[in-house]
């Protein structure tokens, strides 16, 4: 009987894993993103993000930046980035707490394609 319960738990886990396969937000590997400078100090900082579609700078896109910490419990900041041309986008973020932060970039291209990417985490010290 115990074995049957074990099976049930295992099956439930496989089930939830399978239905979850489609849950990750869509990314587009063609788009290359980098920060001009990774933030490292507390306070308001200007973020400049460079986006390339292959080797071509991506302009005319709507770019939204979300800054959040890697642990739960701190409210996110979501801002619309300002296009600077040549694939560059800029926004100000207030890094109000020490610790690990991540930037999540939401891009809506001129053709309507939408993608999301989480940039590597960094430390605010």
């Amino acid at each position: 009987m115990l074995f049957r319960y074990g099976q049930l738990i295992l099956l439930s886990l496989i089930f939830v894993s399978l239905i979850g396969c489609s849950r990750t937000p869509s990314d587009d590997p063609r788009l290359l993103m980098s920060l001009e400078q990774t933030p490292s100090a507390m306070g308001v900082q200007t973020i400049v993000l460079v986006i390339n579609d292959g080797s071509t700078p991506l302009d005319n896109a709507k770019v939204q930046l979300e800054a959040t910490m890697t642990h739960a419990g701190m409210p996110s900041q979501i801002v619309q980035m300002q296009a600077l041309g040549a694939g560059k986008y800029q926004a100000s973020i207030d890094f109000s707490m020490l610790g690990e932060w991540v930037l999540i970039v939401n891009v809506t291209e001129a053709n309507g394609a939408v993608m999301q990417r989480t940039l590597p985490a960094f430390n605010i010290q």
Binding site: M1, I19, P75, S76
Partner: protein
């Protein structure tokens, strides 16, 4: 003079069903079970970024804060509605456990060890930052409760294993309610003692072996309501009491004995109390300076090693020095001739209030700051289900109360905990020695001052949460 009848929660309109309806606990467990399933699913399959996942947000922000506030305002409500017990209870309808929990494990040593292990894993694997590990933690709890309680009689998982349960039970010593008999004289003529042995109609008695007429306080009580439903004379209620009163009692406790003479209970209380300071130390900037200093001294960068050093300092060396020193001075001053460990056992419960205060101050901070961070998570979960709640705010989420109020609240908690600790250690001093009581109490008071000072310093430091990127 007529005695004022105690306030009984089960006699309040709207709460009577808890005592009368046999499936009351089941009804409370169902929503938490559904929430646990949602968190497991989301934790295993959803975004692996803690603030974006319901598993990490609910467990590490809401659950912990709500737990402490509920414990201090009402009682051990989480154990009462514990979802881990639901599959276990259903399994017990089919499987009757055959084995008896081994005698050598009928103590709190294992639970104290597991609590240390949990604190260590929390830091080492950055549980607060990992939805996947948080989900696996929930799954492990379900599996452990099911396996242990399907094999062994009684409720050994709650009583001897579950670190969360121990945490709740220790904290509930300051709760304003307890499960207690309404009329003690009724028990004297009771022939069946169903509250402990259970009834033939499948209503169990107390599986944690707490016999109502001799039960003292909330320790080991999961508020499961079984005794209340089993008593044929409707003689058990949820009675109001003075919070912390049980820490002054020296009566032997049913199913426990005298905690003042049990080293396993002392260790559990020590881990709980000093663990509160250690857990807060892990989330402030100086811990990283300390790691850097350690790395420079030993030329070892392994996080496991660095963490082990911090744990040994915080949970072994510091309490041994403080408590051992206080016990030694107490013995010198009072002339009391017990062994140092026996003296520490007697005083250990006195430190629970300051530990509880520190946990509350810490968890309430996250709860207050992060309460509304559930909204974006909820919104995206609903959006996945095709329900559009785009009016729900996802940014600009303010704390539950103005941020300026949080630090004074935390200081108030620490002061209150310190005062209670001082009262309990004073009471312990006066019961075990008649010699130079004030001087004999002083070493314990100094330990309380040291702990309160550390707690206030920790809470005043800037928070610094690193995990994924060490160092």
């Amino acid at each position: 003079m007529q005695q004022i009848p105690a306030i009984d929660l089960l006699k309040l309109p709207g709460l009577r069903w808890l005592g009368r309806w046999r499936y009351a606990r089941f009804a409370l467990q169902l929503p938490l079970f559904a929430l646990a399933m949602l968190m497991v699913w989301d934790g295993l399959t959803g975004a692996q970024l803690a603030p974006k996942n319901s598993a990490t947000v609910i467990v590490w922000v809401h659950y912990r804060g709500f737990l402490m506030l509920a414990l201090l305002v009402v009682g051990n409500l989480f154990c009462m509605a514990c979802p881990f017990m639901l599959p276990r209870n259903l399994a017990r309808r089919i499987i009757k456990p055959r084995f008896k929990w081994p005698t050598w494990l009928r103590n709190k040593w294992l639970a104290a060890g597991l609590l240390v292990l949990f604190f260590f894993a929390y830091e080492r694997f950055d549980l607060w930052a990992s939805p996947w590990w948080t989900a696996m933690l929930i799954v492990s709890y379900f599996a452990a409760a099911l396996l242990i309680d399907s094999s062994f009689q009684g409720a050994p998982f709650c009583k001897y294993v579950c670190p969360l349960g121990q945490f709740n039970m220790l904290s509930s010593t300051l709760s304003p309610i307890e499960v207690a008999v309404r009329q003690p004289q009724r028990c004297q003529t009771c022939a069946t003692k169903d509250c402990i042995v259970g009834r033939d109609d499948d209503q169990p008695g107390c599986e944690l072996w707490l016999f109502q007429p001799k039960k003292v306080g909330n320790l080991d009580c999961t508020l499961c309501l079984d005794c209340i439903h089993a008593c044929p004379h409707d003689n058990i209620g949820l009675l109001a009491r003075v919070p912390g009163q049980e820490l002054i009692s020296l009566q032997p406790r049913s199913g426990i004995g005298k905690i003042e003479e049990r080293s396993d209970f002392s260790l559990l209380m020590l881990v709980f109390t000093w663990g509160a300071l250690l857990n807060a130390f892990g989330m402030i900037s100086p811990v990283y300076s300390f790691y850097n200093w350690l790395t420079a001294q030993f030329a070892i960068t392994s996080e496991t090693f660095l963490l082990s050093v911090v744990f040994i300092l915080a949970l072994v060396i510091e309490p041994v020095v403080l408590l051992g020193g206080a016990a030694w001075l107490f013995r010198r001053i009072s002339g009391h001739n017990e062994r140092l460990i026996a003296i520490i056992n007697r005083f250990m419960k006195g430190f629970l209030p300051i530990g509880i205060a520190m946990w509350t101050a810490h968890y309430a901070f996250h709860f207050i700051i992060g309460f509304w961070t559930i909204l974006p998570v909820l919104r995206s979960l609903l959006a996945e289900a095709g329900i559009n709640f785009s009016w729900m705010p996802v940014t600009g989420l303010s704390p539950l109360v103005p941020q300026a109020m949080i630090y004074p609240f935390q200081m108030g908690m620490i002061l209150l905990g310190s005062v209670l600790s001082a009262v309990i250690t004073w009471q312990t001093t006066t019961t075990i020695t008649k010699q130079r009581q004030r001087w004999a109490w002083l070493p314990w008071a100094l330990v309380i001052v040291a702990m309160a000072g550390s707690a206030m310093w920790l809470l005043s430091q800037p928070m610094d949460m690193r995990g994924i990127l060490e160092g």
